[in-house]
């Protein structure tokens, strides 16, 4: 198992380097000059040349990239062209907002998704089950930002209950959480329901029933542990996507998170901020996926046995 984890972590390094190289190339080799953006339309050629020299933009692309990469290995993620502050500080000041939205939304979708999924599997074909299925169809079809807009209209504009702009109070996060979790909630319900149905109809569960095990025991001890495996993977994948996906929700609720930093930086051609923040999101997403896989092995002895063999 340890061997496997180390192997996965080592494999991550070339992947992250490749991602950062592709992004660096896209940001640098396409039209648009950061110096011109900073100085505006009134800039003189001399001014631009001077700023190029100051920011290190007069060097060739590959030199710039490898200098940046070398810095990363020493813990220096470069300096923002726009604000002239270290990229690391910039990201660190924005990351908490994104994490609160992403982890909050995922927790909501995981808790409610698993509970509703179990209920609708246990009461298959009941009215509640049908309503849940229609609801999941609706939830997957609604774009998260549209749900956000509707929530703002209802709860901020008409009822005046919740603030439409996200600040530091917890109540201001309620709407972002709900709108960001909708799609993931639907997929969690669907997966939990179908895997629960598979295990409920499995032979060993029927045996347990025949031996007179109480229903609670059958659902929670016999079925759930097996049914949860694919759900764990799904939640891991969702969490990774959510970190990148909050970018649109951040625009709806004016959240000063990583997404809005990224959008401004992309518009200003602030290469090191863009590359560093996207690579960081990818790293977090991969680590979470790895964590899900480890958890998977922890829950399922069969999987664990497989890893320790290989």
């Amino acid at each position: 198992m340890h061997k496997y984890i180390i192997k996965r972590l080592l494999m991550l390094i070339p992947v992250l380097i490749a991602i950062s190289f592709i992004l660096y190339a896209i940001m640098t080799l396409t039209p648009g000059d950061p110096a011109r953006m900073i100085l505006g339309d009134a800039a003189t050629e001399e001014g631009i040349a001077a700023l190029h020299k100051e920011l290190g933009l007069d060097e060739p692309f590959l030199t710039r990239y490898f200098k940046w990469l070398l810095g990363v290995f020493q813990g220096d993620f470069g300096t923002s062209y726009r604000t002239r502050t270290p990229v690391f500080d910039e990201i660190l000041s924005r990351l908490p907002y994104t994490c609160v939205v992403a982890f909050g939304a995922i927790s909501i979708s995981a808790v409610f998704g698993i509970v509703l999924g179990i209920l609708s599997a246990v009461k298959q074909y009941s009215a509640g089950d049908n309503i849940t299925l229609v609801a999941t169809l609706l939830l997957t079809s609604m774009p998260d930002f549209w749900i956000g807009l509707i929530l703002i209209i209802v709860f901020s504009v008409n009822l005046g209950l919740l603030p439409s702009i996200t600040g530091d109070s917890i109540s201001s996060y309620i709407m972002p959480w709900i709108s960001a979790s909708a799609g993931y909630l639907a997929s969690t319900i669907r997966t939990t329901r179908s895997t629960m149905l598979d295990t409920i109809h499995a032979d060993y569960v029927r045996t347990a029933k025949a031996k007179g095990a109480p229903p609670v025991d059958i659902v929670f001890r016999q079925s759930l542990r097996n049914a949860l495996l694919p759900v764990i993977t799904l939640i891991g994948i969702n969490m990774g996507w959510q970190l990148g996906g909050t970018i649109i929700i951040e625009q709806v609720f004016a959240i000063p998170g990583l997404g809005s930093l990224l959008l401004t930086s992309i518009r200003m051609k602030d290469t090191s901020v863009v590359v560093a923040s996207v690579t960081l999101v990818c790293l977090l997403a991969s680590l979470i996926n790895l964590l899900a896989d480890i958890l998977y092995a922890y829950v399922d002895p069969r999987v664990k046995a497989q890893y320790s063999k290989g």
């Binding site: 992947v15 609706l138 990774g240 996507w241 970018i247 625009q251 959008l263 996207v278 990818c282």
Partner: protein, 304 residues
């Protein structure tokens, strides 16, 4: 004489047999199974109506005067008999713009699917059929692409190469190719070990013919289902990109960019949010239902 008669009967029989078996073609039996799912059929009808409206829109709407022409006198009108969903902040009828928007969203969705299915299938076929080093390299590249959250990737591409429908299509296709390649690859890997493929090898059939004539048709059903769902996903993605200003630009009436315009006027005219959002929900929901119906209809286990 009797002989002649016999021959005639045989010909008629043959025609009848031909007719009988022609009717029971693969496509026909899939349709029969699809028809059993009433929800999916309803969804298909609604979706086809949307497609027809989108195609015929230029016949009853004029792009210059109905869609982008601004009339300040009519701005921000609440829904009425004349303007069912009201008018936006430039005095344009929201209903007409949403109808025109279907042309953009649906065509982008379909083009994205064509591009990503074609390229994804090629990658998946090569990777699954040949295996070995090619497979390792291709799948590693796909892994890298899957590792970048899709929205970020699309934003990076669109912002780097400029805002245009073509670049949005490229960005969304790149997002979908790895998923498609993985699905095709896993299908190919199960099919290529079948005995009938071994037989084609024994006959000396060239690889390209084995892949396109013998393997790919067998792998088609998951590809078709995934393609339907990909159109749905692309419609949401393009709306999201346009919403943050990284997709279709105003004055083109894309649903996401219409929502983005209405965002600033939530207090004054909340009705602007309704129509574009409903259009997205309706198209995505019908496509998802069609996809689910197709999945059941194409599943050989459901054959009876």
């Amino acid at each position: 004489m009797e002989n002649m008669y016999d021959l005639k009967m045989n010909k008629q029989d043959l025609e009848m047999i031909k007719q009988k078996y022609k009717k029971k073609s693969q496509l026909h039996s899939i349709w029969i199974r699809f028809k059993k799912n009433k929800m999916a059929v309803c969804a298909l009808i609604i979706f086809l109506l949307m497609v027809i409206t989108a195609i015929l829109a230029p016949l009853f709407l004029n792009y210059e005067t109905d869609i982008i022409q601004q009339s300040i006198l009519q701005r921000n009108q609440a829904p009425s008999a004349e303007h069912i969903f009201g008018t936006d902040l430039y005095g344009r009828d929201v209903m007409k713009r949403v109808l025109w928007g279907a042309r953009i969203s649906l065509s982008v969705g379909v083009i994205v699917v064509i591009v990503s299915v074609t390229i994804g299938s090629i990658f998946g076929c090569v990777s699954g059929y040949y295996g070995g080093v090619i497979d390792d390299v291709l799948m590693r590249v796909m892994d890298i692409m899957l590792n970048i959250p899709a929205t970020l990737m699309a934003i990076a591409i669109v912002s780097a190469f400029g805002n245009s429908i073509r670049n949005v299509v490229i960005a969304l296709s790149i997002e979908q190719i790895p998923k498609m390649a993985r699905i095709v690859r896993s299908q190919i890997m199960t099919i290529k070990n079948g005995e009938f493929i071994e037989a084609t090898h024994a006959c000396g059939t060239p690889d390209s013919r084995i892949i396109f004539r013998h393997i790919l048709p067998n792998a088609l059903s998951p590809i078709i289902v995934e393609a339907t769902l990909t159109v749905a996903r692309s419609i949401i993605s393009i709306a999201g990109l346009s919403f943050i200003g990284m997709g279709i630009q105003p004055p083109d009436p894309e649903w996401g960019s219409m929502l983005s315009e209405s965002k600033r006027y939530l207090r004054e005219c909340p009705y602007l949010v309704i129509a574009p959002g409903l259009a997205i929900v309706l198209s995505v929901m019908t496509l998802t239902m069609i996809g689910d119906g197709l999945r059941d209809a194409l599943d050989p286990k459901m054959k009876k």
